[in-house]
């Protein structure tokens, strides 16, 4: 009996100690993490638009170049030239992928894509989301829809070359881009 009580007491103490530690650490780190996340989102938006911010005040560059438009719970970023950018979030092959995609003012051509976070397998799926690969999406058309070609060669202007060994991520990313861009384009057009 004594042994059982000791065991329960031990588990309770252990559990509450770690829980307290987690709560305290979370409380103190949260403001820093949120600040960093906000800055990272701005960097991603600027990066998707292809606006250089190296060595400059991110805040200043952002407010000078980008207008933020809130529509319901969606946010659209617009530059002076009429190019728009928006969040793209959805499931990859291993977990959520989140990023920012920018379209030229014709709302049909990809201006740039940046990734904010993802959990694809390092060395396999994540190769689709590397900057080098994302750069090949630039200038591609999303009408009628973007296609990531895994088997074969991309030729048409709405086709991007996929990566062998990363088929699932390639396809998930393709679906993500198409779904999110359609939604935001209709949101932009109905407002005008």
């Amino acid at each position: 009996m004594k042994e059982k009580i000791c065991m329960i007491v031990f588990v309770l103490i252990l559990g509450s100690t770690w829980t307290t530690a987690l709560v305290v650490v979370d409380k103190y780190t949260r403001p820093y993490i949120e600040k960093y996340q906000a800055e990272k989102l701005r960097k991603s938006v600027l990066g998707a638009f292809g606006i250089s911010y190296e060595g400059q005040d991110i805040e200043a560059v952002f407010s000078e170049n980008v207008d933020v438009i809130e529509k319901g719970d969606k946010t659209i970023y617009r530059t002076k030239s009429g190019a728009i950018a928006f969040n793209i979030t959805g499931s990859g092959s291993q977990g959520p992928i989140s990023g920012v995609m920018a379209l030229e003012s014709d709302l049909k051509t990809i201006k740039g894509i940046t990734i904010v976070s993802h959990v694809e397998t390092p060395g396999l799926g994540d190769r689709v989301l590397e900057k080098k690969k994302l750069d090949t999406f630039k200038g591609k058309k999303i009408v009628p829809q973007l296609e990531v070609i895994v088997a074969g060669t991309a030729e048409k202007e709405n086709e991007v070359q996929g990566i062998t060994g990363a088929t699932l991520t390639s396809k998930a990313f393709e679906k993500l881009i198409n779904t999110e861009s359609k939604e935001y384009i209709s949101l932009v057009s109905e407002g005008e």
Partner: protein
């Protein structure tokens, strides 16, 4: 032997067992899943190994300090809570202080927490030994894991991408062996690695001994 005088007879044995004769991957077949998954590029292998070495050390210190208090019936749960909370706290701290490092490690955090080498060493060693020897054991096993992953990653990255740590080292005409980046290549190489190290270290296959 210099190592024997520095670490003591027991310490030397702990190190030798961890790095070679009781190699966590080839002898105990622990950590196979992550050895297969993150050994396709050297960069990834190094990041993953660094994470595992750190968490092994953390677990080693905590579990060996608590070892006299842990009731044997709830020891596994104690390891799990300790490892998961410890890693989460370190992850949060990294996110707040050095976000760039945390971002590079992001996809590995889950893999590190669930790495069976950590649970395996906690159960087999940390819970029965003092902190000093637990630290030695953590380092030795961490090193064994590191050199295994890096060796396999070097072969896979060269054959699959023609690069090493991202630098092109094979001529551009190299026909990349995509299979080496895929799981099949990992199974093949890890199998070969087990065969070679088990033969050299004279490790009996499980079930025979």
């Amino acid at each position: 032997m210099l190592l024997k005088t520095v670490f003591g007879a027991k310490g030397y044995k702990v190190i030798k067992n961890g790095i070679w004769s009781e190699h966590p991957i080839s002898s105990a077949t622990l950590g196979i899943c992550s050895a297969l998954a993150v050994s396709n590029k050297v960069e990834n292998a190094i990041a993953m190994s660094a994470g595992v070495v750190f968490v092994l050390l953390l677990t080693g210190v905590l579990i060996s300090l608590l070892r006299k208090l842990i009731p044997s019936r709830v020891r596994i749960i104690t390891y799990m809570i300790t490892i998961a909370s410890g890693v989460t706290i370190v992850d949060l701290a990294l996110k707040a202080v050095v976000p760039t490092i945390s971002e590079a490690l992001g996809p590995y955090v889950g893999l590190i927490i669930t790495n069976c080498i950590i649970m395996g060493r906690a159960e087999a060693f940390f819970v029965q030994n003092d902190t000093y020897h637990s630290i030695l054991d953590a380092i030795a096993n961490g090193l064994a894991y590191t050199y295994t992953l890096v060796t396999i990653a070097i072969i896979r990255e060269i054959l699959a991408f023609g690069t090493l740590l991202g630098f092109q080292i094979l001529p551009g005409t190299w026909m990349s062996w995509a299979i080496m980046a895929a799981p099949a290549g990992a199974f093949f190489l890890l199998g070969t690695f087990l065969w070679v190290t088990r033969t050299l270290a004279d490790i009996e296959p499980p079930g025979k001994g």
